[in-house]
Each structure stands twice: as C-alpha cells, then as structure tokens.
Symmetry: C2
Subunit: 226 residues, 2 copies
DNA sequence: GGAATGCTTCGCTGGTCATCGAAGCATTTT
DNA sequence: AAAATGCTTCGATGACCAGCGAAGCATTCC
C-alpha cells in the first residue's frame, strides 16, 4: 500500500484520527492492554468488515500493533507516544458522552495513573483538591507554590526536604475533566510517593496502585479516596 | 454551521488536522505570533478562496483566533494547548521535508524554547549533548541521573543543592528530532536557569532567550551554542 | 470619486472515504 | 470430515470535501 519507509506527517496522523470509529477503538486501547478485532468492532459499533478496514489503516499508520493468536488478532496501541498524542487532543476536546459501562481495565486506568511524571486520574484530582482545601498550596508566580503549612506537612510526611520547593501547575485531567497537580512540584511529589511505596506501578501501561501505606499517608493530607 | 455550544470530540479535532493545507497553516503559527490570511494562503500553496474556507473551519473548531485590523485578518493559534497537541503529534510523525527558508519568528522558536517545563530547541538539544559528552549524566532507573561529577558541576554553577537530585528522561524534540533533557531533572534545571537569569522568557509564545550570563555559564557545562 | 487590495461567498467538479453484504480464507471445534 | 468461528477482501453505494474561478463586499490608497 505504501513504500516501506512510510512517509508520515501530521496530516496523515490527523486523517487517522478523523474518524469516530477509529477514535473509539484507539480510546478503548488507552489502558495499554490488547483487544481482538471483533471486540473493537463492537466498541466502534460497526460491522467486522468495516472494523477490519479501519484496523488495516491504523496498522499502516503504525498507531497500533497486532499479535496473532490462533484465529484471533489482538490489537494494542503502538506505544506510549500514541497515548500521549490522544491525551493531548482529548484534553481540549470536550468529550462526547458515551453511555457505556467502563470495562475493568479502563476503570483501573481512570482511578490512578501517571500523566507525564505526575499523578493523574481520580486519585490525582482528589490529591489536588485536598491540598487546596487544606490550604497547603497557594497561588504564586504563575502557578502553585507550597504554603508554609504545606511544607511542614510534606516534611512530616517524610518527603525529602528542599531549601526551595519547586512550583506546580494545574494540569487538566482528560478522564476526569478536572485538574490534577502537574509541573515540577507534581512530578517531585509523585516521585517521592513512588519511592516511599505509597504508590506502585502496575505491570502494564501507566496505571498505578495505591498501597495501604499510601492510603494512610494520603489520609493525613486530607485525601478521601476509597 | 453548528450549535452554539459546539460538540467537539477527538474525531473533529483530527478531521481539522487531516488536511495538509490546514496543518501547514497551523505549523506556521506555532511560534505564537499572528499572520494575515493571504500569508497563510501562500504558505499552504492554495488560492485565497481555499485558504478562506480552511480558516473558517479552523475558527469554528477554535483552533485559531482572529483579529481584524483594517482590511486584514490576522490569525494566531487559539492557545498553548493547540501547540501542545500539534507537538505531540509531530513528535512521532516524521516530517515531510519542506525546502523553504524559516522565517525569523520561527527561527527564534527553534533556537530555544520551553517544552512543558524544560528547555527545548537547538539549545535544549545542545545542553543534553554536552551533559552526556562530559559524563555529567548517567543512565539509571529508567532514565538519567546526575553523576557525582554532574552534581559537583551543578552546585558549582550555583544551583540549589538537593540531597537527592530528581531523575530525568530524554524528551524527543520535534523541531530538532533529537532528544533534550526532560523529566523532573529537566524541569528543575530549567527553572534554576530561569531564576538565575541565564534564560529569559520572550514576550510571546514559549521561546526563550539565552542571556550573556547564561552563555558564559553554559559554556562551563561544555555547551557550545552560538 | 475611482482604483487597488484583502478577503469571503457561490457554484461546480473530481476525488476520496466510510459503510455494508456477500464471498473467501484460515483456524478451531465437534 | 464437517461445522463454526474470527477475520479479511471485494464490489457497490452514498456522502463528503478540497480545490478553483468568478463574483461580491468591504477597506484603503491615489
């Protein structure tokens, strides 16, 4: 269909993302797991014939990868960069409401995950909300700064103490449509939580799990989560 | 054309980015400045009539904003989120070679700018290259860490000293197509440089300017730039 | 005032694409 | 061996869209 070294530019990328069926398929793969073609057809609400045509295009454009198992073909996103690009677009494209229950893998993904290097998902949003409510953050210099009270709390939590704490920025969360804490401060705190085993990375994708230690410690921050 | 509260999803976004003419126009606005419709027509190599139709769609999709000045209409990107999304797509879409000289505004943009919160552009790439060459970084734990030598150098440079320095990640630079230093370490170092006036933000967009102090200090890191 | 400029709207044309049903192919089950 | 399953290919249809020239509408220049 194309030369071996496919010439691929933004417009071809956009072309692939310009169809609602293809987008539905891709979004359903955002959690990082695989799905067979028939399931993707069902998700996109098209016949197997149509789904097959779409998947062929997505393969040619290297947005997805496929693995053959018996008579099934399992598809997954070609890499995290595809998820990144989708996320960047979803952030500023108000979502169409889909009245369909989330499947388990996607549910885990929406609970808690990393976005670039900071905490996102329901937990990420809850964390930022708690920080604001407890006045541990203040707005300053084009972003968030830890308040004196916030610094005390972070030190009490056992985070590494800094002479000057980095600043944070609100980062719009595409599954929650509210902000979580991003920027250097968000990255730093998330790294600290991972190091102290408040959070654990899950095997696949960017989802993370809140440990029991993490649940207790985050409760000290006023986070009510699960 | 559409209901006042436009229902806008990823597919409509993709649809707008699926045409080479529209993408060319948008990319030419990535530096954050404005261009009149005629100039955008010339850039996209289409007649004014066609360009007008494209710009109408981009306006309806809120990808660009327009300002009327006399008989001219000046267009610019609707916000940094549009640039973010384009960048995320460009990163993984090998660019079509365009044999056209860069205009000055875009040139400034490719020299040095911020990407999320870290340094990008030619300067960003040169910085990472220098750090690697001087062995100030080592690879560890799924990313870059400062080497002992690197820590000494950073402290000598007057950066705030940390008990545990954050880790960095390579971040592919879409204008240079090489990596610059991203991740928490990249954010932190860039913030330090801005605070110490090695870099200054330019008035518009994300471009930054290397100050004379910055040029001297970065030379100490082995960066040969300009 | 009249001419030139910058841009838009209109009508048309050619090309491309999503979609489906039917048929085909491979694998697995019975 | 035969039937069922999962997916692809083929051919046809209907819709949409980029592109242009011509005409129209402002604004500015002379």
């Amino acid at each position: 269909m194309d030369a071996p070294n496919t010439r691929f530019d933004i417009a071809s990328f956009g072309e692939l993302l310009s169809d609602p069926s293809r987008v539905a398929m891709l979004l359903s793969l955002m959690h990082g797991l695989t799905r067979p073609a028939s399931e993707l057809a069902e998700i996109a609400q098209v016949t197997p014939a149509t789904a097959s045509a779409h998947l062929k295009k997505l393969l040619a454009g290297k947005l997805v990868r496929v693995e053959q198992l018996g008579r099934h073909r399992y598809f997954k996103l070609a890499g995290p960069h595809i998820a990144d690009a989708l996320e960047a677009m979803a952030l500023h494209a108000p979502q169409r409401k889909i009245a369909r229950p989330l499947d388990p893998a996607r549910q885990i993904f929406t609970e808690a995950r990393t976005c670039y290097q900071h905490l996102a998902g329901k937990l990420g949003v809850a964390f930022l909300t708690a920080l604001e409510k407890q006045k541990l953050l203040r707005v300053g210099g084009g972003g968030y700064e830890l308040s004196p009270k916030g610094i005390v709390r972070c030190e009490a939590a056992g985070f590494e103490s800094l002479k000057k704490w980095p600043s944070g920025k609100p980062c719009l969360d595409w599954t929650e449509r509210q902000s979580h804490l991003g920027g250097p401060l968000g990255s730093f705190l998330t790294q600290q939580m991972l190091e102290r085993k408040w959070l654990e990375r899950r095997r696949e994708g960017r989802a993370v799990r809140l440990t029991s230690v993490g649940r207790r410690r985050l409760a000290d921050f006023g986070v009510a989560f699960l």
